[in-house]
């Protein structure tokens, strides 16, 4: 229970810290968003100072006329109410734009992350069982090469060849434009078809690291004494492989999985740009080109919140998989 409470507090605190960071970026930095918006509004002309500040307040949730502390409180409360300001480019509320986009990003990233994890763990386990064989050596080489290739390079190759040259896959969009969203077979097939290239380019460059890691861990576990005991007890080979080797080999990779969630979501920004896939990252990059600060900060916040939730879920399951997770905190301090 203590473990869960601690993790919850940490997740909430992280979101709070990132909200404060975006406030700081909007408000305090010289030449930052407020100055930029003010310069633009002054250029438009015909507005008094108070009006300009009010407009800035409406757009970014930060009104420069109020004392700093009240600006901060206002900003935090409006974000907690789901108000991320108004896009200076589209003129729509930021929350509307981003809430429409976030499920698509989550779909892409969750699929590729689970795909690369499952492929990597399975491949790594087989490599460990056949250590030193031709299969092991060739898989290691393939994993190494794929793992040292950036995912966006694979994405560019995919879209150049599979998308443009051979026209096997679509080169943009979430689904075929003539379909309307719904639980029809055609729609789901179209979504998968459009998501196939982004998902594969992340998964194909990501699984190698997991496979090598899993291979190393499994080989270490295979040499443990408790495994000999398990064999001597006459336990079935499948039970040993799943309950003894796999479980103990996967546990140390959990920390890596937590870091990977953030990495994969960050990667969405580049992938969505390459594949013209309108997710959060796509809007975030556009916002930077258009100096649309509310969308920029909102997109950053939304991605962070998605990552925090992902890590929170993974953390809770970790406490459930590994009972030792609740230890700690009792060490002497020097």
């Amino acid at each position: 229970m203590n473990y869960i409470a601690k993790r919850t507090a940490q997740a909430v605190f992280t979101v709070f810290a990132v909200m404060s960071l975006t406030f700081g970026l909007i408000r305090i930095l010289p030449g930052g968003p407020t100055d930029f918006l003010r310069a633009r509004l002054i250029r438009q002309g015909g507005l008094s100072r108070a009006q300009i500040n009010q407009r800035i307040g409406a757009l970014t949730n930060v009104n420069p006329d109020k004392p700093l502390f009240f600006q901060y409180v206002d900003y935090m409360t409006s974000i907690l109410q789901g108000d991320f300001g108004t896009s200076t480019w589209y003129g729509d509320p930021v929350s509307g734009i981003l809430l429409d986009a976030i499920p698509w990003t989550v779909f892409l990233m969750a699929s590729s992350l689970s795909l690369m994890f499952v492929i990597g763990v399975t491949l790594g386990a087989f490599m460990a069982y056949r250590e030193g064989s031709k299969f092991d050596v060739s898989s290691t080489v393939v994993s190494l090469v794929l793992n040292s290739t950036p995912y966006y390079v694979v994405a560019l190759l995919f879209i150049a060849f599979l998308g443009y040259r051979w026209q096997l896959f679509p080169t943009g969009g979430r689904y075929a434009s003539e379909l309307s969203p719904g639980f029809s077979v055609a729609f789901i097939a179209s979504v998968l078809y459009h998501g196939a290239l982004p998902i594969t380019s992340l998964a194909i460059t990501g699984f190698g690291g997991w496979a090598l890691n899993m291979r190393g861990n499994s080989i270490r576990v295979l040499g443990e004494d408790y495994l000999r005991v398990a064999r001597l007890r006459g336990l079935s080979e499948s039970r040993i492989a799943l309950r003894y080797v796999a479980r103990n080999a996967i546990l140390p990779m959990y920390t890596g999985l937590l870091i990977a969630i953030g990495g994969v979501f960050g990667g969405s920004i580049i992938l969505e740009q390459i594949f013209s896939y309108p997710g959060v990252g796509y809007y975030l990059i556009r916002a930077i080109g258009q100096r649309d600060y509310p969308v920029m900060m909102g997109g950053f916040l939304i991605i962070t919140i998605a990552v925090v939730i992902g890590i929170y879920i993974a953390d809770l399951t970790y406490g459930w998989v590994d009972p030792r997770a609740e230890r700690g905190g009792s060490r002497e301090s020097y």
């Binding site: 992280t14 793992n147 950036p150 150049a160 870091i259 990495g263 580049i270 930077i288 990552v307 020097y334």
Partner: protein, 345 residues
């Protein structure tokens, strides 16, 4: 080494053999630099890695002096690769030589890598070791900050910072920006390694003797972590390369000169290299440059991983007078071993 007898207490014994300063330095060099190098060198991956990395370093230092700088209309427009010796990798749509662009993009890249990796390793080492060694409230505080930094997705943070801050194209600054939260994961891993060391006898002895915390960390703790830190130095370098090329490709970072990512961006936006086969080599060459350097660094990190293995260390320690025998051991239970490096941090 033998001991002189009969001078009263054991504590007053003086070693008969004395080492000159020069001999001590040579021994330290052998133990901390040459032996690890020998271990690394005994592996084919390491030899290949050193070969690849040296090529890039040469490209960035000597290559810049030999190759003529890129300029428009050096050759025919959009010539394919491997056609003439004058332009072995082809030319861009404005007739710039691609090989020359690749070479001239290397020095800023190396500066960026160095800045990012040094920054990450320095911050992570200080926070990780202090937190793990001191424990208590300081540990909780530092680890809370670390966990938050680890949770914030790196790339969006970098992009937002690059969008808001008024950056000039200085490669050192960009290198640090690109690894703005890369230290967090390493700091956590180092902390859990320190936890296994903090109660070792020799550390306890130093503590009882009243040696200050900074000296204990410097002399007793950090030397044991050096192989792990080296390995992560390389991993961070790789992260900086992948990140910088990605962001230059997206056109987010400011630049002064030529860069592999900028080349990819230009190839894509000016010649439509993704959809047009005639310009594809312009996109492909910088991508190959990134992949090969990435492979070199990955191989190096993989080989450096062997430094962890005490048995491999011992086998190579013959020429070392007194090896400490067991290094930091295999990683501790949490975060042990090489973290998967599937995606950039």
């Amino acid at each position: 080494m033998s001991h002189t007898e009969g001078t009263g207490s054991d504590f007053e014994t003086v070693s008969e053999a004395s080492l000159s300063r020069e001999e001590r330095y040579r021994q330290a060099l052998d133990e901390h630099v040459l032996a690890p190098l020998r271990i690394v060198w005994s592996d084919w991956r390491a030899r290949l890695a050193v070969f690849i990395i040296s090529i890039y370093v040469l490209m960035g230092t000597v290559g810049v002096m030999i190759v003529t700088p890129p300029s428009p209309n050096q050759g025919p427009l959009l010539m394919g690769p491997f056609q003439t010796l004058a332009h072995p990798l082809g030319t861009t749509f404005s007739g710039q030589d691609i090989l020359s662009q690749l070479v001239y993009a290397t020095p800023p890249m190396l500066k960026m890598i160095a800045a990012g990796a040094v920054f990450t390793v320095a911050v992570a080492t200080v926070i990780g070791t202090v937190s793990g060694y001191k424990g208590g409230a300081l540990d909780s505080g530092l680890m809370t900050i670390t966990d938050i930094m680890m949770t914030i997705p790196g790339l969006p943070l970098i992009i937002v910072l690059a969008g808001v801050l008024d950056l000039k194209g200085d490669p050192y600054v960009i290198g640090v920006l690109l690894s703005v939260n890369a230290w967090a994961g390493l700091a956590r891993a180092l902390r859990s390694q320190v936890l296994t060391l903090r109660d070792a006898e020799y550390v306890e002895a130093s503590r009882i003797m009243g040696i200050s915390t900074p000296s204990i960390l410097q002399k007793d703790i950090i030397p044991n972590l050096m192989p792990y830190i080296t390995m992560n130095f390389v991993q961070t370098a790789r992260g900086v390369i992948f990140g910088s090329v990605a962001l230059y490709f997206l056109g987010i970072l400011p630049y002064n000169g030529v860069n592999w990512g900028v080349m990819m961006n230009n190839a894509n936006s000016k010649a439509g290299a993704v959809s047009s086969p005639q310009a594809f080599h312009w996109l492909l060459m910088p991508m190959l440059a990134v992949i090969v350097l990435g492979l070199g660094l990955t191989l190096f990190a993989q080989a450096a991983d062997r430094l962890f293995n005490p048995r491999v260390r011992a086998r190579h320690a013959e020429s070392v007078a007194e090896d400490d025998g067991d290094g930091p051991g295999e990683g501790p239970e949490e975060g042990g071993g090489a973290q998967p490096t599937g995606v950039i941090q």
